[in-house]
Symmetry: C2
Subunit: 506 residues, 2 copies
């Protein structure tokens, strides 16, 4: 492991009159022999005596890298190199997920998550931003809530593993630009307001204690590219290593916002745009989070719904992956048109309720026309980003070597359904790769491999950021993408085949 | 000035949607254009908003160098580059002297000094060391006293100049190894006890606030070579630049201890040894510090003393420079022998008092045989270091290009008298250069010229440290050096000439 922390066991010769270099130098020379130039800061200098004498010069030194140099952050008696821990964190606006890692082996010792305590100041991020705007006390509340969120997860991890945060050296955090501002205690109004020049995108390595964390070393925040393209996405790009591949790759992280990066080792384009809450089930009337009782798989066969719920509980609503299946199945069975409109003559399950068509997919649970419309708008926004970016590269969709879909949504939806509704490009299915929480993966990778730092800034610098809002024909492109799978059917040959097979197309 | 601090006035374009890099990057890019890669730490990141907006992006950034990188430490509205201040300090065990400098011009804006507050824990350094030894509360008392000493001088300088320490960026401190340990709050027993492996010799740049100083940036402590050859001497070597001269130079700092460095740009030898308090008038019965009323010049002519006192006050005692004159004059007038023994037949002023010969040099003031003996022992110790070191170089005394004498003592004694008693080598007088408080000068130089850091560690590393205590024939050499000017008269041709002229030698 060539991570951002080290633990080195030293057994040094006891000073004699013939060998009487200073304690500091004795240690620094020994470290240098192991290839490490390290600074011994004041707290460590103060600890040298009587520690070294008492421990008979047999101890373990913990070192933290700050991007420029190694700093000694702890001395422990004897050999404790086996206890070498660090954190990787994905600081989302909804959830904070942290992994505790064995920094010698890379083994994940524990993973825990909690809702972001910032939620008390607003469910959505904008409310929080306005709460803190130009009100230092409110900003401090939010900063404190952010820190407390971390402390809660640290405590959970300690319960799980017996390893406390004061035994951990450093932490890598991947978060969007707003989250990083709040973590640092900086006003984040800049993120959402013109001219979108935020206060910091690359705070680098910060002393953990200065941030309020009782870790020994540093907290590194993944740098961001722009206000809407933060360290969480850069971390995802690192996780998928799209910047080093010869083939064209597309990395897509979609939630309330969609962020994507397309490119290869030659170039990288990136962009971000609003997607809306539909993908997370947020604007669907019977939508719900992916918790037990949520419909996650939908099959429509011989006029009947076959549902799979999380935890095999009776259906209480439908989550994102269920919605994608639902749309695909309604479409492939001809119950909705290419424009996503219900065709009520196709099934008695389709009926009017309060002047709106809907289909009853489970007892008491309806899927409405407005749900479809809302979702397709979101899908269109997301897909348009993809096609627009592809167009900028001048390359056709079938040049895509890998399509990486980040997030829980990408991990759970059916590839077939997503292609059917035109949410994923119609490429060979093995090219469609759900990557899960790639922000967390990228954070973990950097914790364990500091060589990423050598090219990270350069990658971000060479990235070209596309402002979708500034794109003239974006609305036009979006309208075309609202159709299922897309107005331009040629881009979806496998869907066309399936439509033909089912007699929906001749 | 290429010092360890910078102030840079920035007038930056106000962010627009077309130019919306982060505030942090906007500043870092502007600094980079001026050739500075700078880190913006958390307190500065937190200050960016609303500061930059409110100041319309017209402000001055203060930067401090930490040996590896530049760190932003302050933001001030508009152009304050003219107010660019720093401190150079000579932390002696008796006195702390600090200069306040204009870091743009190098101008000395003020200089002040106070007695080291550590004195309350012991007049001499060993008492203080024992007070603190293995007693953390006592060590903390001494550390606190050290910091308070600085704060008192800062306050004096503020009274003199109106410039407070919170307006100063960084400080360079030259102090001996014990003083640096105490400043950092580290037990210093190691300095005086076998195996003489001290805890730190090169603490480097320390955060001023961590040390207890309200400065903006760092405190740099001059690195030392060994327990008895501390940063104060290294600073003096830097001040005299003996390490870059082709000619052989000798740097000598004598007080209670004598430290010396001999060499040129090819090699450097250094050593230290106890000298005793005699040179500062400490063991002379009527000895006193160089304050008004102290005899500082002595001439003996036609059997009478002609005295000069500091402040033209009636004589109350004799200080170091007076003692050297006294010995030279007694010797050149034949009142004492080459062994420094009174020849009572030479003057009625020489008489017995309590079974000891002495000479009355002013009403009620006697100079005793034991005073002479004590002083000559000290002189012998000092001179022997010089000859021993010279011998090690294999070069004769007349190869010495410059003999630099540091300290108040060196600044005030008569060169002729010092050569006469064999305290200085008998070289051309212009080669004998008193350099005053060279520790302070070296500290000031480094504050104003960080390029010294590029070679400082290397110089110290190439220095060879000679343990006088470990030298076999040191006592033998010392005995030879007790004579006036020296047993080996050949080394003192000008003294021999004068002795012949006066009929003391044929």
């Amino acid at each position: 492991m060539r991570g951002i922390t080290k633990k080195i066991h030293l057994t040094l010769p006891i000073p004699t009159e013939e060998d009487c270099v200073s304690d500091q130098e004795r240690i620094q020379r020994a470290l240098k022999k192991q290839g490490v130039d390290a600074v011994l800061p004041l707290p460590i200098l103060r600890k040298l005596y009587p520690f070294c004498t008492e421990e008979n010069w047999d101890f373990t030194i913990s070192l933290a890298y700050d991007g420029g140099q190694w700093t000694a952050v702890n001395l422990e008696p004897q050999d404790t190199t086996a206890c070498h821990y660090g954190y990787a964190a994905d600081l989302g606006s909804t959830t904070l997920v942290i992994r505790l890692l064995n920094c010698n082996t890379g083994e994940i010792l524990g993973e825990a998550s909690v809702y972001n305590h910032q939620i008390q100041f607003g469910e959505d991020i904008l409310t929080r931003i306005f709460h803190a705007k130009d009100q230092p006390e409110h900003l401090e509340q939010i900063r404190r809530a952010t820190v407390d969120t971390f402390l809660e997860v640290f405590a959970q991890l300690e319960n799980m593993t017996g390893i406390s945060c004061s035994e951990c050296i450093s932490m890598v955090v991947a978060g969007n630009t707003t989250m990083v501002h709040f973590l640092l205690g900086i006003d984040a109004f800049c993120v959402f307001s013109s001219p979108y020049a935020v206060h910091t995108l690359n705070p680098g390595f910060l002393c953990a204690r200065e941030l309020g964390f009782p870790l020994l070393g540093y907290v590194y925040c993944y740098p961001g590219k722009a206000n809407y393209l933060g360290g969480d996405i850069i971390s995802g790009a690192i996780a998928t290593r799209i910047y080093e591949k010869k083939e064209l790759s597309l990395f897509f992280d979609i939630g309330t916002n969609g962020e994507l990066i397309i490119g290869n080792r030659e170039f990288l384009l990136c962009g971000a745009g609003a997607a809306g809450p539909a993908l997370e089930g947020g604007s669907v009337k019977t939508g719900m989070r992916a918790v037990p009782g949520a419909v996650e798989r939908v099959e429509l066969k011989d006029g009947h719904f076959h549902l799979l719920t999380i935890g095999q509980k009776p259906p209480q609503g439908i989550c994102g992956s269920g919605i994608v299946d639902m749309l695909a199945q309604l479409f492939l069975n001809g119950w909705i048109s290419i424009q996503g409109k219900f065709l009520p003559e196709k099934s008695p399950l389709i009926h009017l309720e309060e002047e709106e068509y809907c289909v009853t997919y489970a007892p008491g649970l309806n899927f409405y026309q407005s749900d479809i419309d809302e979702f397709l708008k979101t899908k269109a926004a997301a897909v348009t980003m993809i096609y627009y970016m592809l167009e900028l590269t001048g390359l056709p969709a079938d040049e895509i070597g890998h399509f990486y879909m980040a997030g829980a949504f990408g991990a759970h939806i059916s590839k077939e359904s997503a292609v059917t509704i035109g949410m994923y490009p119609d490429v060979e299915r093995e090219k469609l790769v759900p990557v899960g929480n790639s922000s967390l993966t990228g954070a973990q990778m950097l914790l364990l491999d500091r060589s990423i730092l050598e090219y990270l800034d350069r990658i971000i610098e060479t990235m070209e950021y596309v402002q979708f809002g500034a794109v003239d024909n974006f609305i036009h492109l979006m309208t075309a993408a609202t159709a299922i799978p897309h107005t331009n059917l040629e881009q979806y040959p496998s869907v066309v085949d399936e439509m033909k097979r089912r007699g929906l197309l001749r």
